[in-house]
Symmetry: none
Subunit: 193 residues, 4 copies
DNA sequence: TATGAATGAGTTTTCATTCAT
DNA sequence: AATGAATGAAAACTCATTCAT
C-alpha cells in the first residue's frame, strides 16, 4: 500500500545488519526485503540495485565511524593520549556491538568480484589509517606514525576476525587493551625525553 | 572410453585457488569446471557437491600447513627458537604465495551461512593456535603461551587482510618480522633468568 | 496544490515520439513519464493505462493525418491531380519529419499481441486507402482505383521501412516522386481519351 | 531429464516462429521454452541469452533465404529472366508461408533498441539488394539496376506488411506479379534494341 | 570417467498499476 | 493534478545438481 512503511535510512540500517551476518553474495534482495517488511520490488524504489544498497550501507557505517571516532581528531581540548584513547574505545565498542566487522567481512568477499564496492571500503580503511597516523604524528616521527597506525589497525581487524571465529570477545578486548597500554607507555617515554 | 583428464588432487588444488580469489558463494561449479578443463557434470564424479569440494580444498590446505608448518613441532633436533622461526617463515611464505588467506576469506563468508564448512576452518585455527601454544610453552607459562599464540595469529590474519586490501606485502612481512624479533628477545630474556 | 505541469495533449505528443522510436512493448510508462517531466504515477491521472495512452497517440496521429492529408478531399476548388499531389506531399513530409512510420512500426508489433491497438491502426490504413481510392475514382474505374491505392500505400510503407533501416531518405523521396509522375501521366492519358 | 529432447536447430526454428508472431520484446524466454517443450533454464544451455537466440533465428532465416533465393544467381544455365523469376517466386513463396516477414517485423522493433540484432538484419537486406542488383546489371546500367532493386524490395516489404495488417494475401501476390511482368517487359525491350 | 542435456529453485531486476497524501 | 511509496507479476538469467549415454 502506498504509504511509507520504512524510511530509506531504516532500510540501509537493516541491510547493514543482514550484509554483516550473511555477506554480500549470499544475501539476496529477498532477504533484505523480508527483514525490512517490504516486498522485493519496493527496494528498487529506493535503490537502483543490490550494489547501490551495499554501498549505501557501507557509506552509512563509514559516516558513523567518522563522526564517532574521527571527530576527536579536531577536538583541541584533548591531548594526544586522550584522542587515541577515544579512537580505541570507539573502535572496541563498535566491533563488540556489531559482533564483527562488516567492512572486513565484505571486503574480502568483493575484493576480486565487485571492484566498485571494494573501492568504497578501501577508502574507509585509508581514512582510518590516515586519521590514526595524524594523531600519532604528534608524538612519533611521520614514518613511524604511519607504520604503527597500519600495524594497529591490522591487529584490530585480525582480532575481530578471531572473535567471530571463536565467538570469544577477549580477542578484541585484549588488542584494544594492548593498544591503550602501548600508547600510554610510548607517550610517557616521549615526555621523559 | 573417458580416460582421466585431471586427477582429484589437481581439481582440489585448482578449486583452492578459485575459492581463494572469488570466495565460496560467488564461485560456481562452472567456474571450477572451466578452470580445471572439465565440464560441470564431471566434477560430481569426484565430489558429492560444492560443499564437499570446498571442504576438500580446506582439508588440503590444512594438511599442507600441518606438514609444512607443524612438522617442526616434533623435530627434537630443533630448539624452541628454531621451531618458532620455522613456523613464522612457513606462514609468511604461504600467505605471500597465495596472496591472501583462503581460510580467513572463506571463514568470514560461511560463518553464518554454512556451518559445516565453518567448523572445518575453525579446526584449522584451533590446531594452529594449539601448536604455537605448545612450542611457546617451552619458554612461557601455559596461560601466557596461549595468549601470545592467539595474539600472534590474529595479528597475522589481520595483516594478510590488509595486504589484500592495499595490495601491499609489507603488512605481512612486517608482522612476521616483528614476531621473529619478539621471539628472539623473549627467549634471550628467559635464558638470562 | 498541484498545478498542471503538462497538458494532456503535450503528453500524447511526447508519447507518440517515444513510441515511434522504441515501439510499444519496449517503451515503459517510466520512459514516457521521464520524457514528459512527470512522475510515473501522474500519467494515470490522464490515461487509464499504457494501452489507452498508446491509442491516444495513435488517434492523435490519425486525426492530424486526416486534417492534413484527407482534408483536400472535399476541397472542391482542387482538381484530381492537385488533390493527389497534396496527399503525396503531405505523406512525404510527415514520414520525413517523423523519420519513420509510427503506425507501421507499432502495427507489426501489436498485430498478434494487442488487438485493441491493432484495430485502431487498421482503421487508419483503411481510411487512408479509402480516401485515395475515392480520389482516384475520379479518373479510374472503381476496382482499378482501389488496386492502385493499395499498391501505392504499400509502396510508401515499404519505403519508410527501408528508409529507417538504411537511414537513407532517398527510398522515401523516390517513391513519392514515382507516384507524382505516375499520377501526372495517367491523368494526362485519360484526358487524352 | 538428461536425454536430448529437442535439437538446437529445432529450438531455433520454433523461436523463429514465435518471434515472427509476437515480436522480439514481447516474446519471453518462457514463451519459447513452452513452445519447444523445454524448461526456461534449459534454453540457456544452448544459447547465451535471448539476444543470441534471436540472432540465431535471424541467421537461420538468412541462410535459408540465401540457399533458396540467391543460389540461382550463380547458376550459369539460367538466363537473366529465369534468375529473376526464381528470386521473385522464392520471395513470394516464403512470405506467403510465413504469413509475414520476420526480418521486417523484428527490424522495426529493434532498430533503436537492440543494435546488435538490427545490424544482423541490415546485412540480410543489404545482401538481398546486392543480389538483385547483380542480376539486374545484366540488363540495366549499374545505377539503374540498384535503384530498381531497392524499389522492388521496398515494395515487397510494404506489401508483406499490408498483407499482415489486412490478412489479405493479394497485396503480396500482386506486387510479385507486377515485378514478374516488369521484368519480362524490360528484358523484351532491351533485346529489341 | 566424462559429458551434454535438462531442470527447479532461486537470483536480480523491471514494470504497469494503485493509492494515500 | 501531482507524486512518492508500494506491490505483484513477470522478465532475463544463474546455478547446483541429476542422469543417460
Amino acid at each position: 500500500m502506498p504509504t511509507q512503511k520504512v524510511t530509506k535510512t531504516q532500510i540501509i540500517e537493516i541491510a547493514r545488519q543482514v550484509f554483516t551476518k550473511q555477506g554480500y553474495h549470499h544475501t539476496s534482495m529477498s532477504d533484505i526485503a523480508e527483514a525490512s517488511g517490504l516486498r522485493k520490488g519496493s527496494l528498487y524504489h529506493h535503490f537502483k540495485g543490490k550494489e547501490e544498497l551495499m554501498m549505501a550501507a557501507i557509506d552509512c557505517f563509514h559516516q558513523q565511524f567518522k563522526e564517532g571516532a574521527f571527530s576527536a581528531l579536531n577536538n583541541e581540548e584533548l591531548n594526544t593520549q586522550q584522542k587515541l584513547n577515544h579512537l580505541i574505545n570507539y573502535s572496541e565498542k563498535t566491533y563488540l556491538e556489531d559482533e564483527g566487522s562488516m567492512m572486513a567481512n565484505i571486503m574480502l568477499e568483493v575484493i576480486n568480484t565487485a571492484p566498485a564496492i571494494a573501492n568504497c571500503i578501501k577508502k574507509y580503511f585509508e581514512e582510518w589509517i590516515e586519521s590514526v597516523t595524524q594523531i600519532l604524528s604528534e608524538v612519533y616521527p611521520p614514518k613511524g606514525a604511519q607504520k604503527i597506525a597500519k600495524e594497529s589497525i591490522a591487529a584490530i581487524e585480525g582480532a575481530v576476525m578471531m572473535m567471530q571465529i571463536f565467538n570469544d570477545k577477549s580477542f578484541l578486548t585484549r588488542v584494544h587493551e594492548g593498544l591503550r597500554r602501548r600508547v600510554a607507555q610510548d607517550i610517557l617515554e616521549r615526555e621523559a625525553v
